[in-house]
Amino acid sequence: MSKKPKNYKMRFQVADGVILAVLVAFALLIILPFINVVAISLTTPKAYADTPLLLFPKVFTWENYETLFQDGRIGIGFRTSGKFLLMAMPMNMFLTTTVAYGLSRTGYPGRGLILKFVVFTMLFSGGIVPLYLTIKSYGLIGNMWGVALSEGINTFYMIIMLNFFQSLPESLVESAKLDGAGEYKILWKIVLPLSKPVIATVFLYYLVDRWNEWYNAMIMVRDTQNTPLQLVLRNIVLDSQNLDNIMTESVELFTFSAGIKMGAVVVTVIPVMCIYPFLQKYFTKGIMLGAVK
């Protein structure tokens, strides 16, 4: 009897070791490619070619970043993405908050119908071709406004917010109504101050989505002076990659070195990396609030 607990404990330690090893291995699988990307961007092409398994730049240089920023496209990308966030984010938050609030209220005629009207868009959509032609018929092709407007509300995020609003005590809204407060005032003064965590979550989801925007912009904005950052990255890294495959070596073609391409990856990832680890709890909160009841 006295020996059994010891064995028991031993077995636990082996299991713990195996679990830890598997998890750390998966973590390394995720982290190492990032370290590799950063290292390539900070070293010379020659040093990269000479060092297999490059994880630390032995020859350090900012040259790749200098060339990258001289090219100008990255600058255009940051400017376009920045402007895009400023146009899209207030609209996203306004439209999402107002409709979520309206649907969180009960007892008015047509509420069920409006909810169905909204949820149906999660099940059925025209798809990219009719969307493109509709935006075109509105005259919004060629600038980021068309993109921002076409992504005005993410209904899934709206449901997250709606579920949170519904969990607030109804008496709060009722008593404010009795005091004669209007709906905007109730939303702004009573509901929103109590909903900071969910507002933060949805705000961050939209922020990341808008930052990661490329597809609609690729289709709707065919203007080299108005390209969001992700699309600039795509043009720099993936398109030249495709050219590498097609072109034979005899064709002289300007493509960026690996170091410059990876520099472009780094500057695109850094903003997300700066906010995500510190705000992770807000990001994970949404996943539990997202069910349609």
């Binding site: 699988l29 590799n36 990659q241 495959n245 009841k293």
Partner: protein, 318 residues
């Protein structure tokens, strides 16, 4: 969302009107969003009518004349369309079966890990790639798997031979699955972690008294307890089988793998935006097929989920 319909007298028209006036503020606050839904969701849906028209650039999407079912006749004779549909079902069916368990395994392992602080660090690491676009992920993967990339360097150091990962059509689909796990497993594991956290701890305590091993507890308590969550997540993932992964395939695509990367969404994109002469009517017909099939899948998935006692449309953000 509880609404007591029972017991109330049937509202008359006049009474309803009065109620509408009373709640005008609520309608007013929702008005901008409703207008948005009409202009940017329902009008494009109506735009699917182009599938029955011949698109004339001058007349636009609304003015082009109706010409019947000719696009659908062409569609059902188009072997590339059938290829694309089958390929989509194959790639995404395989994805569902092969990548789905990883999030569960990850959650179970993380749950067994005793180090609280380190667990947090690991979780931040695992979930991070979810928030990067496929443009970024594809760039990183392409770099890591390139001729002088990390993976080939490691293979070389171990005495193996260089593998052409990116330009090999046989490796494209496996790479799609691997990168899916790499990017998404951590994020998907959160829902299972939450389900595990909700298990009644007394069950584990009772098992401890009975001398159950850790393995036993995992198989007999943890896994059965989260089985409803697993079932629901699986069905909902199955509902997305037509549309999943376009971003990913689009960015991982290259000239060498074109033959195996033409999923339905890729086909729609190429026919519409990459062709020498675009027939928007025909593109819309394919779009319509896609939307209707997708709707069918989603409705089935949601119906089953609700029958099983879950909530619909969970995790539909993607």
């Amino acid at each position: 969302m509880a609404k007591d319909k029972a017991g109330k007298p049937k509202p008359t028209f006049k009474k309803t009107l009065k109620e509408i006036v009373r709640f005008r503020g609520v309608y007013f606050i929702m008005l901008p969003a409703i207008v948005w839904y009409i202009l940017f969701s329902y009008v494009p849906m109506a735009g699917l009518s182009l599938a029955f028209k011949t698109y004339k650039a001058k007349l636009g999407i609304w003015g082009s004349p109706f010409t019947g079912l000719k696009h659908f006749e062409k569609l059902f004779k188009d072997p590339r369309f059938f290829d694309a549909v089958l390929r989509t079902l194959k790639i995404n069916g395989g994805r569902l079966i092969l990548t789905f368990p990883f999030a569960i395994i990850l959650a179970l392992l993380l749950n067994e890990l005793r180090m609280g602080k380190f667990k947090k660090v690991l979780q931040v690491t695992f979930t991070f790639p979810h928030f990067l676009s496929w443009v970024i992920i594809a760039s990183i993967i392409t770099n890591v798997l390139s001729y002088d990339g990390l993976v080939n360097s490691a293979i070389e150091l171990m005495g193996g031979e260089y593998v052409n990962f990116i330009g090999n059509s046989k490796l494209f689909v496996p790479l799609v699955y691997i990168t899916e796990v790499w990017k998404g497993a951590g994020w998907s594991s959160i829902i299972y972690m939450a389900a595990i956290a909700g298990i009644d701890q007394e069950q584990f305590e009772a098992a401890d008294i009975d001398g159950a091993s850790r393995w036993d507890k995992m198989w007999r308590i943890t896994l059965p307890s989260i089985l409803p969550t697993i079932t629901i997540m699986f069905i909902l993932a199955a509902g997305n089988v037509m549309t999943k992964g376009f971003d990913q395939v689009f960015n991982m695509d290259n000239a060498a793998v074109h033959k195996v990367s033409q999923t339905l969404d890729m086909y729609i994109y190429n026919v519409t935006f990459n062709a020498k002469k675009t027939d928007f009517g025909y593109s819309t017909a394919i779009s319509m097929f896609r939307s209707v099939v997708n709707l069918t899948f989603l409705v089935i998935a949601n119906t089953i989920t609700k029958k099983l006692g879950g909530n619909g449309l969970m995790g539909g953000g993607d």
